[in-house]
């Protein structure tokens, strides 16, 4: 799936559409440079899920949990491994537990934690295309 969203409103629409493809247990890698809008897109997805609470960047605590969102989805986890040094092991974060409760995971900078990245099911690339415009490319990863 490939979508060019010229405005933030168009991105909000795209988040609503992507929501229909989301299922518990999926792990989505959010790919994109610093400032591409990975965190903003996650906020819009939670908005599409009608989450009305406070949204917090995951960087400080590595992960933020939202939900559950019945009937379709359980917990949504938003993780960011940007600050982790190379060679960090997934076990030291306790992140293996995230895959045990059927949560839907969105992870930024997954490449910093190869052991975790290998478990991802989908990838969403976000590329700035001038101003508010963003190009989104979503695909399923080979199991």
């Amino acid at each position: 799936m490939r979508r060019l969203c010229p405005t933030l409103d168009a991105t909000r629409e795209f988040a609503r559409e992507l929501l229909t493809l989301l299922e518990p247990g999926q792990c989505w890698i959010l790919d994109g440079a610093v400032g591409a809008g990975k965190t903003t897109f996650t906020r819009l997805l939670l908005g599409a899920l009608e989450y009305r609470g406070l949204f917090q960047s995951p960087t400080f605590t590595l992960v933020q949990e939202y939900g559950p969102f019945p009937p379709r989805l359980g917990l949504v986890r938003h993780a960011d491994f940007y600050r982790l040094p190379p060679g960090t092991r997934a076990e030291s974060l306790g992140s293996e537990e995230w895959f045990e409760d059927g949560s839907l995971i969105f992870v930024e900078w997954a490449q910093r934690l190869p052991g975790f990245e290998a478990l991802a099911t989908h990838r969403l690339s976000i590329e700035p295309a001038g101003g508010e415009a963003r190009l989104f490319v979503a695909h399923r990863l080979a199991p």
């Binding site: 610093v34 400032g35 965190t39 903003t40 406070l54 960047s57 400080f60 590595l62 600050r83």
Partner: protein
Amino acid sequence: MRILGIESSCDDMAAAVVEDGRRVLSSVISSQDAFHQAFRGVVPEIAARRHLETVIPVVEKALTDAGVAPGQLDGIAVTSRPGLIGSLLVGLTAARSLALAWGKPLVTVNHLAAHAWSLQLSGVFDWPHIILLVSGGHTLLLHARGPLDLEILGSTLDDACGEAFDKVAKHLGEGWPGGPAIDRLAKTGDPLAIPYPRVMLDDAAHRYDFSFSGLKTSVLYHTARLARKSDPTASDIAASFQQSAIHTLLEKTRRACRDLGVPRAGIVGGVSANSLLRDLTRGDGEIEWALPPLSVCTDNAAMVAGLGAEVFLRSGPATPDALRPLTRNPDARKVV
């Protein structure tokens, strides 16, 4: 009323004894910075494990420092929300056990409301006032009508302010936490060397919200493009970044003061230790600014014990339902 406070919502384990909400008899903080430095930030799993080892020694030291025996306490206050679930559980479980063992009543407090109370530890700061709560994990603008009546006016749409400091510090080759490093570098830099953006979000929906992602991106990528100097130094970058971030914070706070007709504002949380922010709020003819002493800027238990006395007076001991830890503030509009 003599209250023992316990705070463990993130990576610091703290205990304090406070009398009548304001008189701090002791305040002990066991920082875990050394354990999290390699990860350039908090690792929840490590925080919870360390808390288990430090909670009892920290509580014991708080009592010894205060010269108070458990029997001389009137109650215990503990942070139950918002925070890291594992970290909160350690403090909550310890507080419940001690309350039971010593036969003392227990209250739970909100970490954000406790930070707001840090303004009250050096005297009465009258209500209503505006509060800017800025730390590594939070960037919130609050309208405080009373100790426990805190309306959330705005928050960050992307990065927390402290996080932007951490990321810029990393970019400049400095360690974690980034706030003190930026502050130090900025002292010898030119704050006007690079015109970094000030994202003010003027539309009605986000009038009191913040966005620091654009500023962070500018620093990381477009450092030299519009620079007044051809080769800005790390000090210039730190000073220019700090200039933009701190002015944005203060402008938003002033805006809330003007809109709501409240001429008093307090700044709490780790970023309130920033020296530019302290300089700029001194001698302001328009707004009466309050900043807590440096010792209670970051997470501490004196603010928990102090607010705990208010909670005892206003709502009495905690119900079993209040003893559950919560990862986030349950309401987007008010601190509860």
